[in-house]
Symmetry: D2
């Protein structure tokens, strides 16, 4: 899997902070933009997130190239609806090189590793023959496994990144989508360090774990009640 930040709103943290500040300022944002120090910006962004005043975060957009995700993972990903996706089509591209994701639990299992590879190769082989025989690609792909790789271009604004990471950086999520959002966080931190630092599982905001069982980071409410 490879994640690259392709484009983003210039000065993402400054524009967020200035937009937030401008709502309670008689001055237009152009003046506010000039008056904010980097320290102001960092403090404002942390303050917005702490207080749940998230709408100014929408002014900063981030566009990523996501390469080598399984289609199992991309199917989960596109359920985040406040985002924009352009995904490689299996209808218009004939699959050439066979690239697919193998979960660690299978790789580390001597008995199944070889059979998994074999099974995927055979599926690809049949796909290949069907396409060559004139079966439409959009039909031939029904035989292809969910582990097959796909590429996407994805744009999310900072608010949606915050919400998506709150869910997907929680260890209850599947390992592949956790890995995806960890890489996204790494990319965001390069250009927006304060915001990037705030991309964290939801328990940091809640100060407790609201899942049935805690991973240990924060206790559940039940555990807190017992501890008293």
């Amino acid at each position: 899997m490879q994640v690259r930040l392709l484009r983003y709103t210039p000065d993402p943290e400054l524009i967020i902070a200035a937009a937030a500040r401008s709502t309670s300022s008689p001055e237009p944002i152009q003046e506010v933009l000039k008056s904010l120090s980097p320290q102001n910006v960092a403090r404002l962004i942390k303050g917005l997130i702490a207080a749940g005043h998230l709408s100014p975060l929408e002014h900063a957009g981030f566009t990523f190239s996501l390469e080598g995700l399984s289609r199992a993972c991309s199917h989960q990903l596109v359920r985040h609806r406040l985002a924009s996706y352009s995904q490689q089509s299996q209808r218009f591209i004939t699959l050439q090189d066979l690239k697919y994701v193998t979960p660690q639990s299978i790789t580390s299992h001597p008995q199944f590793r070889a059979r998994y590879h074999q099974q995927v190769r055979e599926a690809h082989q049949l796909y290949d023959e069907m396409v060559k025989a004139g079966i439409p690609r959009e039909d031939a792909r029904y035989v292809l496994p969910s582990g097959l790789e796909t590429n996407l271009v994805m744009t999310m604004n900072a608010r949606e990144l915050l919400q998506a990471c709150a869910l997907r950086l929680c260890p209850r999520s599947q390992w592949e989508i956790v890995e995806l959002f960890e890489r996204i966080k790494t990319e965001v931190k390069q250009v927006a360090p304060t915001l990037g630092e705030e991309l964290r599982p939801k328990c940091y905001k809640l100060t407790y774990c609201d899942e049935p069982k805690s991973c240990g980071l924060f206790p559940t409410l039940k555990e807190t009640a017992k501890a008293r």
Copy 2:
């Protein structure tokens, strides 16, 4: 594939028409609701759609049970973001009975039909063995083919149904999602006949085909220009 309308906003066409009418009426909607005849309602709905005044259509919601779609199809479907989905999880359900979609182009192909069934069965067999050996379901499923069936509950309002059908009832779409929206249209027509009738490919609104090649229903702009 099975599509059933489970629940919907009562009197869906009346509420749309009354909401539309209330925007240019000094009376509150309660009075408007009483004053509209079925003929008024039908005429108002056709008028709204013809004039592209679509926001009142959002007041009527429709909740469907969608059974037996391929995951290839559900991946396309959930790209419609102004809708709500609850999809059967491959992480929390162990796949028991093997149900999958076979495209007609494969069924009708003696050479590939048997191999397709065989390939899918073998993938399921490997999945089954892996799950029994303790590989997590969420990992074992990477071997499962895109043709595997899934169930969803989907809610769309009438405006989004109109937009989705405009795209998906166009023969340029893939056959499985065309079939899905044809069934959705059939269900909607039972309870909202005027609205259901308006669920049509986008060319009806445009009065021309904006795809590279027309299916014959309406000519493209190039073809129209030539004909003059």
Copy 3:
């Protein structure tokens, strides 16, 4: 101000609970719908909200008639973007009866009460004369005050109701929009008592107040830290 629930998805709590349950059930939702007792439904809904698994709440929609809101309030309201609105137009309706909202702080102020009423009446008088003289309504209304009443039809699903109430039932919100959502909550409780009960300020989920100053319901994080 008057709030009436006009229409809603039938059995709203049952459909939410069944949709949630169906994601981890091999059975289609039709079977799940039959198997859920009212106790199951209530427990499932509380569980979904406690765990932040909110997407199934989107399957239940609620359509309200909102009468007699100030335009100051409706301007705030329509900032909730995951909802549908049909608002009385000042462009297409000539304002007849003068109806407007007077804040309590003005009513209770002998010095200003009379002047406020006078001022609003004069604005309306000028509007009236301008319209009669042929000034377009859409221009004449620029003189009308923000306190003027408006009517809307609004549809929100249960998830958005939960989010909007989390913000707007917090006493940091303006009194008029707090009153609006209290009336909305009262209406929802009539037909969906478990869900209605859960429409509460955000601090109930957080277990603390994330605003700069607490109203007393829950302490802020700073206050909690000090108390230890």
Copy 4:
């Protein structure tokens, strides 16, 4: 009214074209980005819009400073829900300088011009006295007229800009919001000329006018039928 483009996704047209191309390319978008000439980019963008394949347009975001809109206009504007707004608050800012919009139809009317200015000044005077006497700003503002100016920061992606302009550049819209989107179009054209050119009333896509009465740019369907 002043409209300034504050920030935008760098190379907005290139990123749109490359994202679109990447969906039917086996190469990742990084390679596609390098291979597109300016001519390719312009042709691709026109093609996407002509064919209604609009989702790649979402990858380019534009953030504007909007100064000196009337609150009547901002109330209309924020009804575009697929956009982000940070608006000057009348709850947290005490109105100092009196700035307001006067429609041309009033300015040009000797009888009403003076009375309009007088009326607005008196409303502001009463607001001022109430705030000084301790009435909360959020209540005092109920007396303020709809013509009062407000500032916003707004972010829209290229797809939503296209849709909003399709509606708001139609002369059926109110003059103030038409003027707003004309200025937005001017700003966009500076940095994205092909896209900016495509920001046009909806009739250009339809090839006819779908409003009850045409402004003359394109005939209605009825008029077309008669002409035959």
